[in-house]
Point group: C2
Chain length 384, copies 2
């Protein structure tokens, strides 16, 4: 298949692009390098020494004989370059990772709230509009987030996107299936709930074929492909804005920094390993919705843990201490989280569970690159 | 009260600003004159000879001794000018009309879809962010649309924003109240459903006080205030993009053009007179939500009619013919529409019904200015 990967230089996009290329798909990356530029802004960098995108794709072609194209395009701003690329490349699938993806970053200041809304919504709308205008029947695979559902505080088990409801209407009872009511916890999550409305509209009005992957928190760093050569190494974020909780705990344990648990740690979150994430993206690509089918929504997560349980698991493996800090987020102190995730399992996903993959992850990346860690970047600074 | 009116040069914004000023409020208008610029783009103009905003506010001050301030600011793009104005003026209320408001315009081309999303969502997000950053506890009164509910095709009666639902959750039945599930019929309506998510988030996270007025289709042109002097006259749109259905029928009847009914005309819509619209805005301003109260949603409509019934009513009054044209919209041929609208009635609204106001409207504006009509602008051109 011909696959365009928007945001293909990022933490999920890069290993996904390589995974898809390795399996024989023709891959073209679009990225404006915004994630690298944000590192400059935040005065931090990936723990791992990631190479420039040009070197990355040259190394991949040299090793595998499989070229990956690259275009530096800002999807949110350079509509006509995106449209031209779609018209010329005629992708079967467009994977859409091209959004600002950190909740703390989205809440740092008014600038960051505004950047996130402007970037994420214009990127998604430009993509949908370009697919319609191009006349190319590309299947859009979007990386959403489990955060569109909120923190599970409603007590309702989380289905894969659509919730059956009953409404009393005079003497009748009406049955309907609706998008699970949104309850975002940050401006970043908010934009993903607004994306859902964009997808629903263009799907209804223009029959655009869309799969929305509501992903849990990704842990792990490397995949079989990124491990093939040091020049292909994936990024690893441990800072207070972009570092995700489990990767931060692992890093902290390795360098002897107390594991930073915000609040009680009874907040439950869903997780998925980076290797499973890239597999899920291909599973979604290989089974596109039919023309006219409603937006397909999969919950791309494999396990759920309370944060304190994760911290204790890592503490017992490594001897790290646990430090409770104030929670910067407005959220319930504790929440249940019951998530339906059958779809991707039924398509063939065999999850990598934390109790098997954790030790490998610790030795593969954080230990090897611990000397690169700037401890001053570990504390979070955004508060909301 | 000190009231900032964003979009105060427009069809609803201008009479609202005058109405509020006449009642003793201190009014400042913000507008980037985008609606006038779009007339330039579409090569059309208001049937009524509206005056430049500077002349409008000078005439008002001269007649009443009540100055209305004016700032030419693009709310979607000039964040810091908006923020500075809020900090300096400290408005009790900010009325937010500053969005592109025509469904057909939003669907004309990829440019128009993209403009509408970019303009409307950045305007709303900038406003919310600026209120939070300013520290000024302004109550935001937003002009939404009945279109967020879709075409009423779900068969569920439309409440004022929030729908009580039941969900089966294992053995339990869980009761919740949710935002009425969105089902927008154009990119314009889509942006208003996305606005709702912005409001819900900033209300939850920052306790911003918000009233969202889901307005029906406005008919009528003049108010007591705009009638005081020709220099204060309100705009009247009859073109295929911005003209609303009832005003278009009236115009067509006056100039002997067949009433253009799209499809069967069994589509039912909700309506409100312009004089009632400005009263509703003041009612919302005078009864703000308490700090911490959820977003207040009122359905700002007074009557519902099938379009064919409206056409027949006007035909029987005027002898006009009816022409059935293909429907450019993707929507059900016919729909029921049952709308709850008690809130504004309970606050004191006494609606102007169509059967009393229609003849006055015909003679007040379309007859007087019929010679200005460019018949070539009547047909709609957007199709979706």
């Amino acid at each position: 298949m011909k696959i365009l990967v928007l945001g293909g230089d990022g933490f999920c996009g890069w290993p996904a692009a390589l995974y898809l290329s390795a399996r024989g798909h023709e891959v073209v990356i679009v990225d404006n390098l915004s994630r690298r530029n944000i590192d400059n802004e935040l005065e931090t960098s990936s723990l791992t020494p990631i190479r420039p995108i040009g070197e990355r794709v040259r190394a991949w072609a040299e090793l595998t004989g499989k070229p990956i194209g690259f275009h530096n395009i800002n999807v949110a701003e350079q509509y006509h370059r995106l449209l031209t690329l779609i018209v010329e490349f005629e992708p079967d699938t467009i994977v859409h990772f091209a959004e600002q993806r950190a909740a703390p970053y989205s809440m740092k200041s008014s600038y960051h709230k505004r950047y996130t809304v402007n970037n994420n919504l214009n990127a998604t709308n430009n993509l949908l509009t370009a697919v319609v205008e191009s006349g190319v029947d590309s299947h859009i695979v979007h990386l959403g987030t489990m955060g569109v559902y909120g923190y599970g505080a409603s007590g309702i088990a989380i289905p894969e996107g659509y919730l059956p409801i009953k409404v009393e209407n005079g003497d009748q009872v009406i049955h309907r299936e609706i998008l699970y009511p949104a309850d975002p916890g940050s401006v970043y999550h908010l934009t993903k709930t607004q994306d859902q409305l964009l997808f629903a509209f263009y799907n209804k009005n223009d029959m655009v074929r869309i799969t929305d992957l509501h992903q849990g928190i990704v842990w792990g760093t490397q995949t079989d492909e990124t491990l093939r050569d040091d020049r292909l190494i994936n990024r690893f974020d441990y800072d207070g804005d972009y570092g995700t909780v489990l990767n931060r705990f692992i890093m902290q344990a390795v360098i002897g920094y107390p594991l930073t648990v915000h609040g009680s740690g009874r907040q439950t979150r869903s997780f998925i390993n980076i290797r499973d994430s890239v597999r899920c993206v291909e599973l979604a690509i290989l089974t596109p919705p039919k023309k006219g089918e409603r937006v397909r929504i999969f919950n791309q997560m494999t396990e759920a843990f309370a944060l304190i349980d994760l911290a204790q698991m890592i503490a017992s493996l490594t001897g790290a201490k646990i430090a409770h800090l104030p929670n910067p987020r407005k959220e319930p102190e504790a929440n249940g989280l019951h998530v339906e995730n059958r779809s991707l399992i039924e398509l063939g996903l065999r999850p990598i569970k934390l109790d098997h993959g954790l030790l490998r992850e610790i030795s593969e990346v954080p230990k090897r690159y611990a000397a690169n860690c700037d401890r001053s970047k570990i504390p979070g600074t955004a508060k909301w």
